[in-house]
Each structure stands twice: as C-alpha cells, then as structure tokens.
C-alpha cells in the first residue's frame, strides 16, 4: 500500500469520526454531558436501516433519520433532563447506564447474531485510478461530512435557535437569565446530534452491513477520545480531533507492517497519551480567544 492510499483511507474514516465528534461536542457544549449512549443512537439507526432494507433507499434513510432524532429527543427528556445540574461524573455514568440498558434491549429484541443492511450496498465498490483504489463510500463520507458540518455551522451562525445554543454553551446560567429557554435549546442540540447520528448510521452500515447490539460502541469511544484530544472547548477543535483520530486509525492500519498490525490500538492510544500530556487542553486549543464554546 502506498502512503497516498493510506492518506485516502484516512480521510474517508476521518470524515465519519468528525461527524460523530460534532454530535458529541454539541451536546457537551450545552449541558457538559459526555453522552456514552450516543453509540446506541447510531445502532438504532442501523437497525432501522436493516429492517427497511426492502424499501427504496430514500424511504429507508428517512425512516432512519426519523427514528434516531426521535430517540435522541426521548433520551434527553426521560434520562438527561432530570440529571441537569448533576456533576459531570454522575451524568457520564448515567449515560453509561442508558447505553448498557439500550444495548441489552437490542440484544433482547433482535438477538446477538445481527441483522444485515442491504441499503446502498453498491457504494462499497471501488474505483481504481492507477494503483490507487478509492471506494465510493469514502468519497460519499467526505462529501456528506462536509455538507453536514457546513449545515451545522450555518444553523449555529444564522438562526435564532443557533444563537441561543451558542449563548447557552458559553454560559448556561447567564443565557437563561437573558431569556434563552433551557428546555428548547437542549432539545434542539439533541435533535441536531440525533440527525448527525442517523447520517453516521447510513455511512457505517455501507462498510459494515452486519448490525449487532454493540454496533455503535467503538466509533463513539474513538470519536469521544478524538473530541478530548482535539479540545472540548470549541466545536471545530472537537471536530478536528475526531477527524484526526479516524485518520490516524486508518493511516497506521495501512502503514504498520502486518506482523505488528494487531498492536494498532496501542499505537493510537499511545499517541493520544502523548498529545494529552503535551497539550492537556487539546491539540488545537488556542490561548483564550474569547469564551465561545460551540
């Protein structure tokens, strides 16, 4: 594998992780919640796609978005609203409990053998340019990732709700005093993060069509690591961190000699530790350019 191929693979995976990172970062910005149950939203979307495999792709994808956004809103209302104001550690453990609960609900309802998604399977083929192989899904991931990130940025910058969200992230209490409605702004951030999770379900199921109860776990953990490595304070640093961890995973996965490729996670985790020690605030954290947190 040439290094150019490794870079191309890296960009494809990086784009997907970046989308997950935005979903996690948005909710963190508003309510200081690290949502480990985010992966189960992705899994819910993947199951929806599996059960609508017979339908036209548009119907399946719309159903996926509907289910996941609804799921995100229900999760916020039932589980996280009562916990508002609890310590971050408590919220994190609670989100683990929700994640654990949902995984076991999936296991009980759909079994451990997994369901297969057939929607958009054709995107998994590759186009060859010389010796380089570019899979369609890598291209689609990059484009979808870019469009979604641009969309989220537009919503945050240009709409009233986006302004409220940014205000709430900067200082929740002051924002409330100035008339930002807490329930609405938090529900809004969950809805956007749900939409992003649904997009990730679509992208991920193309590459790994077998949906098991723990489908969304590893991408969530890696994106979360990326978010912290990049820097939690701003949305773009979190996104860049997510991209970087996806990129590093795919890049070193290609570049490591096959005998030592089983140690890929150690290489990535080792880099994470080095970065955190060198820059605890995040790799891209600047020196106090205002308090904007989204």
């Amino acid at each position: 594998v040439t290094w150019l191929q490794s870079i191309i693979d890296g960009i494809g995976l990086g784009a997907e992780y970046a989308v997950v990172a935005v979903g996690i970062g948005l909710v963190f910005g508003v309510m200081r919640l690290v949502n480990l149950a985010y992966g189960e939203l992705i899994t819910a979307g993947a199951y929806t796609l599996a059960f609508t495999s017979g339908q036209p792709a548009v119907v399946a994808i719309l159903a996926c978005f509907g289910v996941v956004i609804l799921g995100a809103l229900v999760m916020e209302r039932v589980a996280f609203r009562p916990l508002r104001g609890a310590t971050p550690a408590t919220m994190l453990v609670a989100s683990f409990a929700i994640s654990f609960l949902l995984q076991n609900v999936y296991l009980l309802a759909f079994g451990s053998r997994g369901s297969t998604v057939g929607t958009l399977g054709g995107l998994n083929t590759a186009i060859a340019i010389g010796t380089l192989r570019i899979r369609w899904i890598s291209l689609v991931s990059v484009i979808v990732g870019a469009v979604l990130l641009a969309g989220v940025t537009l919503v945050l910058d240009r709409t009233a709700m986006g302004l409220h969200l940014r205000a709430a992230s900067a200082d929740f209490r002051t924002a409330r005093l100035l008339g930002v409605r807490a329930n609405r702004v938090i529900a809004f951030s969950f809805a956007i993060s749900g939409a992003l999770a649904a997009a990730v379900s679509v992208l991920l199921t193309v590459q790994s069509p077998l949906v098991t109860p723990d489908f969304g776990v590893s991408v969530t953990i890696f994106a979360l690591i990326g978010v912290v490595v990049g820097g939690l304070d701003r949305l773009w640093t979190a996104t860049a961190g997510g991209f970087l961890i996806g990129f590093a995973t795919a890049f070193f996965g290609d570049e490591l000699p096959s005998a030592s490729s089983v140690y890929l996670p150690s290489v990535v985790y080792g880099l994470v530790i080095v970065v955190l020690l060198a820059r605890p605030g995040g790799l891209f954290a600047g020196g106090g350019l205002g308090a904007e947190r989204v």
Binding site: A79, A86, A97, L224, S266, G270, V272, I273, L277, P280
Partner: protein, 346 residues
Amino acid sequence: MRSRLDAALSVTAPVVLVLAVALLGSNAGAVRQLEFNDALVNAAIVVGLYVFIGNSGVLSFGHMSFVAIGAYLSGILTLGAEQKNFVLPQMFPVLRHTHVSTVSSLGLAALAGGIFALLTGIALMRLSGLPAGIATFAVLGITANIISYWEKIGPGVTALALVPESGTWTLATGAMIAIVVAFAYQRSRFGRRLRATREDPRAAEASGIHVHRERLVAFVISGALAGFAGGLLVHELGSITVAQVYLELTFITLAMLVIGGVQSVWGAVVGALLISGLNSFLNDAEQGVHVGVYVHLPTGSRLVALGVLMALVLILRPSGLTGGREVTLGGLRRAGRLWRPERSAG
C-alpha cells in the same frame, strides 16, 4: 473521643457488611456461592477505585488495567509448572518457571499494580477532568491490547484457565484488607491532604499541598489495591480473558461506585454489594422466584432490568445511595429519628 468512636464505627460498618455477605455465601449452595464470591471481589475492586477517584475527585477509566495485570500475574504464577510448559510455551522463562502460593501471588499482584500505577501516574497525574479520564482509558486500551497479543507475557487471545480457585473466606478476607487499607489511607495525613485538593485545588495548593504528589500517592495505593483485587478475581473465577477486565467491568464498577456514593468507603462497599446482589436476584427472577409474590422475568431481561435500575438510582439520587457519607454516630441517630415515627404509628 467522639471522633475515635466515629472512626471505629466507620471502618467496622463495611467490614461487618462484608462478613455478613461471606457468612451467607459460605452457607449457600454451590451455585449461589459463586454469586456471593463475585460480590465480594467486586467490593474489593470498587474499594480500590474509591481510594483514587473518591479522594481525589479525578475520574479514572484506567483502573481495570491494574486489575488485569494483577489477575494475569497472579493467575500465571499459581499455575503448575507442567501446565505452563504445555499451555504457554512461549512465555518468558521467569514467568514460566516461577510457582508461588495463592497468598504470595496476591501480594505480588498488589506490587505489580502499584508499580504500574506509579509508572503511568508520574506522567498522567498532571491531568485532571476529562483529559485525565481519556488518558487513563488510553492506558487501559494499551494494556488490554498488549495482553491480548503478546504471548511472552500471557496466553494471548485464548483464556488463561486452570487457575486454582479460592473459597469465600479467602475472598472475603481480601475484601476486608482492601477496606482497612482504604480507610487507613483516608484517615492519614495523605488522605486528608488529597481530599483538600478535591474540594478546592487552588486553596489546597496555596496552603502548601503538592497536588500532583498527593494524587500520585493515592493512584499508587489505588493501583496496588486494584492489582490485588485482580488477583482475587482470577482466583474466584479460575480463568480469565481480556474481555472480562475491559470495557464492561470498567463501567460496571464505576457505576457501582457512583450509585453507592463516590465519596466514602461505605458507599463503595454498599454500591458493589447491592448491584451484585441485584444482578443475582434478577438472574433468579428469570427462572421464577417467590418474594411475597411470584416474579418471573422473560429470559435475557436481567441486564435490561439492571440498566433501568442503575439509571433510576442515578436520576433520583445523583450523589449516590449513601450520599457519600461514612457510617457515624450522628448519621445513625438521624436515621433512627427518621424511623421512630413509623414505629410508633405501627
């Protein structure tokens, strides 16, 4: 005087609770006994977690790496020499030829956990908040990855099996040792200084407390206890795989600590025993069980119910069931006052 009494009471309460569980367990049937043993080992692990997380207020997702190292080391050292030559031919000669008793292997597990915690802690204790959580998690990821594949230090992808099993009383003694160590640390100068940094790092630093050093001390003691508990775990189960000391155990033990109450030994022990007990009860309920009424849950619903209950406790009591307090005279009196009206009514 009052404070001495309180201290005695605070350390006695969790020890008595562990003794009670061990007593029940040793008189239970063989299958039920396994569940009690499991609860005791969980208590030891969670107390180990508490020493660092509870006193420092810094989250660690990495403690299962100490548990894993303790478990594998203690398990490998107690295997018979012929078994090791047969099952683990590629392992380092030192590990392959050494054979020690279960008790000494537990000591070595604690030592290994402590040393590993010292090596990682020197660098990582400069971090706090989420970066600390993620960095410790990265340590766990590396540990799990290397144990899974490096056949010079362990069985690689296969399970480490045929480890001699220990009985309920050994495990209970282990849990009690962990409790006493945790309590001794908490009462010591070091424990008090570290708790001062938890309440207000800047004020603590201003009064001459070295935050980094105090955290490191707790991390090492906590790592040693976790390694020790890992040794107990492998001798409880008789075998171990990496998956058993990785993500799920990390979060379950953390949930036990938070549900019990992060800031006290009592909370750690109550949380561990309660969640373990609940797990066993739900297991029974899947077969059908009488508790006044006949309860019968559909097969596979145990973990769902456990998840619901964990989430409910966290939502209703975010500071944990014990509120993070130790058992004290004042606390007992308050509890008594709460009960009395009911008694006079009945």
